[in-house]
Symmetry: C2
Subunit: 525 residues, 2 copies
């Protein structure tokens, strides 16, 4: 497939007329063809118009048809073969094996949502049958189901060019919920975006769905994104990226005449707590495993462990020493974009120049462009508490160890943390009481709590929470990974006393879809 | 029980020091003793401090203990006996039978949430067991449960001094979710608020719960409400009231360094669509039944039918004529407060003076103070579409009939509507196709769709949705009435690879609470 540099609006390919974006291979700094001219208000208007027209019919497609659509997208993505892999590697600087794994995850995720759609539990069907004889007042027949919110805008993320981008988690869950999707492509990987966008476009056609179910727009500045988020026909949005970018779009979404849900996943430093007994027993191995997690994807995971919090002493020293050795032995890795590399360099320089963080080790500097040099710093708890700059995310493979005087100071630091995607405990049996003491605070601070693992793996499953209190996300009530993500794009509607002929299939009297239901307070099915 | 005029902060009674509020009996305009001096920042601070301290222990109370607490509140409210009824009647001007019914609903609602808590389905337990042999990567053990968001602020509503106030739906669902509650009392019924607040305070003590689980504050202006909503320890709020009041507090909640969910139920005109065949067959009876619904509680229900939309012609004329007769025969009713009465008068005057709405009938003017005089007006669809003032809620028993030229214009008016709590169809079998044609639009516009009933009854049950798209509420993804309301105050937490000894009871390996669970994608229990 040849890349055209076009936007995809419904079944059309449309060439933009605004400033073009062009991908840069971060491993070489060379520009990759073609250029992608940006969209205007007119293209936003057209994409929203089509999405709006598609919404009512698409949300009433059968469960089977919608599941098949998700599976067809996965097939179409797989059919792109090495073309997709090569382009994504070139645009992201990520290793081929990682991109192949990410494609597997992306397609697996689409198929998982197909299972979710078929299962129908997301419809949350509730039936309270009429009780005409009830005293003092009869009860009328009441039925509830969930419907899609409306067209959803998805902002592709830079760090997972497949799994959190055009056909990533937000798109999969919104389509599963019955919402048309308009993707604003991330400017770092427009070619990957076009390829995946064409796969979805082909799936829409193959499945005979209204064309407005999917569109893909490009734009170099904030114009297209702002226009999409403020269009009255758009009813929700999903975003993964920086805190400043996320908050700006979130504010736009809240300032509309009709505010809409805006799911931003923004920043997290994912603290790791090595507890005393574990530190004593296996500080060295732990230090090495920690750096392996820190280095994953050049530290560009949302769940990268950017902070270690522990009580100071010889055991922590041993951990830091081992981690320092591992950092020194860390090869450099290509970062996603020149901009991310510059921000990383500036963040590390800020740490080093703060006067409050001591450099323990740096990895190999590398000699190509945009090379991430791993880093490890140490600071004292009171310095950390007193300096907001030390608490900010440095996106890349640098981490900060916070040395606490004792368990009380460690608790103080923990209570002071902002909301996080993850918090990790490294613990042995003898740490159980300390862990139990910390747990309520950790639950208030994070969406996922891990023991004796590392936060950089995010399983796509029913129990996953990829979310957390602000500023990790803009809405702690939800997750952007895993099957529960579908609920972000749904709302309940109650039907009172409708004739069976008028009721949607999902809530008809004789339950033709054989759905699980809550009937008169009791689970059925 | 003697009323003291105190605020209730944990187990203490505290006399305020700011401008006092004093209830007015709207039937007589006489002031009712005692005066309730308003709280200051110091009392807000103390209530939030106690609520914060109570949060961790309260959210880990057993399901049985929490359910018993809700039931104890109901018993304590019932134990207030006629004292509560008399005071609520005096403060609201509502008839005794209505207040008695509302007490039954309030206590029934608390007991329904006790059932919900015991059942434990709200915990939404999900378990993805470890798959150590999985290729290419093993899966770790992942478990999810829901926990409370944190302390919740509840703003009492004027129109249901029991069911939407101190121990109303928001309080019941937040307490059920494991969240301490701080109520900002509505200034129209401080005595009722104190009585119910003391009942909850007694229940907290009787159940041996941390005192910060409940506090009740008074305040005449916006100071106390704003301070509560912007306190960093408050993690969500529920509000029922005016659009301007709701939006001001919503904005404060969104402007915090950490924005929080703010559930405002604000305004709805609850359109009724008499479809042609039904109108033809029973326009007269329908007109009479409509006015009966319009007059319920002096039109001060959130779901009061303030708008009728139909195709013009002799059948609609007959409906309007019958409704007009019923309006003429409508006795006056005391409104809740002098302020609400004035706003009603001004709203009706606005309709009458718009030059675009024709007065069909008015009811009895009454001769006491604050008497709601029922009203019925008619306008043309194009006038309605062109004038936002005609689309605004008039809180009270006045309704506007919008005459459409044909089905196409009716569709246009329908698409133009703002979000609503309810939309009602009056239809016969021959209207089925027309209803089917309208239904997708109605689903996009309202939280509840009724056929051949009237919107003013709101059943408290599993299937109810008392919510809807903005501006009916600030968050269409939820409901404020019915058991699904508990989800407003919950967020998911994922536990990865925790030792069983550290896991919360709800998600331990052997399921000691015998909860329903989603295990490896399959429903159990």
């Amino acid at each position: 497939m040849n890349l055209t540099g076009d936007m995809l609006i419904g079944q059309q390919a449309v060439t933009g007329s605004r400033d073009a974006i062009q991908a840069i291979n971060p491993a070489t700094n060379e520009r990759l063809e073609p250029a992608y001219a940006g969209g205007t208000q007119a293209e936003v208007e057209r994409a929203c118009e089509l999405a709006w027209a598609a919404f009512d019919p698409y949300r009433e497609t059968s469960l089977e048809a919608r599941a098949k659509f998700l599976e067809t997208i996965a097939e179409q993505i797989e059919a792109l073969g090495d073309t997709l892999i090569e382009r994504a590697v070139a645009e992201s600087g990520l290793p081929q094996a990682r991109i192949q794994g990410e494609r597997g995850r992306t397609c697996g995720q689409l198929r998982l949502f197909a299972r979710v759609v078929r299962d129908g539990e997301w419809l949350d069907v509730r039936v309270d049958p009429a009780l005409p004889e009830r005293q003092p007042m009869p009860r009328v027949d009441l039925r509830q189901r969930q419907i899609g919110l409306g067209p959803v805008v998805v902002f592709g993320a830079s760090n997972f060019p497949l799994a959190f981008s055009v056909a990533g988690g937000d798109t999969a869950s919104a389509l599963a919920a019955g919402c048309p999707v308009i993707v604003k492509a991330h400017s770092a990987h427009p070619g990957t975006s076009e390829l995946v966008g064409r796969a979805i476009q082909a799936a829409v056609k193959q499945c005979g769905l209204p064309e407005g179910v999917f569109s893909l727009l490009f734009g170099s500045g904030r114009e297209v994104g702002q226009a999409l988020v403020t269009d009255p026909r758009v009813k929700a949005a999903g975003f993964t990226g920086s805190r400043s970018g996320g908050l700006a779009l979130w504010k736009a979404a809240q300032s509309r005449p009709e505010p809409i849900p805006f799911y931003a996943e923004m920043s997290s430093i994912n603290p790791v707590f090595p507890l005393p007994a574990a530190l004593e027993a296996r500080g060295k191995e732990m230090g090495e495993a920690f750096v392996a997690s820190l280095n994953m994807g050049a530290g560009q995971f949302c769940t990268n462990p950017g902070l270690v919090i522990a009580v100071k002493g010889p055991a922590l020293d041993a951990f830091v020493a081992a981690a320092g050795e591992a950092v020194k032995a860390s090869g450099s890795q290509t970062m996603l974009t020149p901009g991310i590399f510059e921000a990383y360099e500036s963040g590390v320089k800020g740490l080093a120049g703060s006067g409050k963080a001591r450099e323990i080790a740096r990895g190999d500097k590398g000699d190509g462009p945009n090379q991430c040099q791993t880093g490890l710093f140490v600071t004292a708890a009171q310095d950390f508490l007193g300096d907001e700059a030390l608490q900010a995310e440095v996106f890349g493979s640098t981490s900060l160890v916070v040395e606490c005087a004792d368990a009380a100071e460690l608790k103080q630091v923990t209570e002071h943390l902002e909301g996080q995607l993850t918090i990790t405990l490294q613990m042995d049996d003898a740490d159980l009481d300390a862990a139990r003491e910390l747990l309520p605070t950790l639950e208030r601070k994070a969406g996922r709590i891990l023991v004796n693992g590392w936060p950089t793996g995010v399983e796509v499953c029913d129990a996953m929470v990829h979310g957390g209190p602000f500023p990790a996300t803009s809405d702690s009530r939800t997750t952007s990974v895993g099957t529960a993500a579908i609920h972000r794009f749904l709302r309940p509607v109650c039907y009172q006393n409708l004739p069976d002929a008028l009721l949607p299939e999902a809530i008809k009297q004789n339950n033709p879809l054989a759905l699980k239901r809550l009937v008169d307070g009791k689970r059925e099915g």
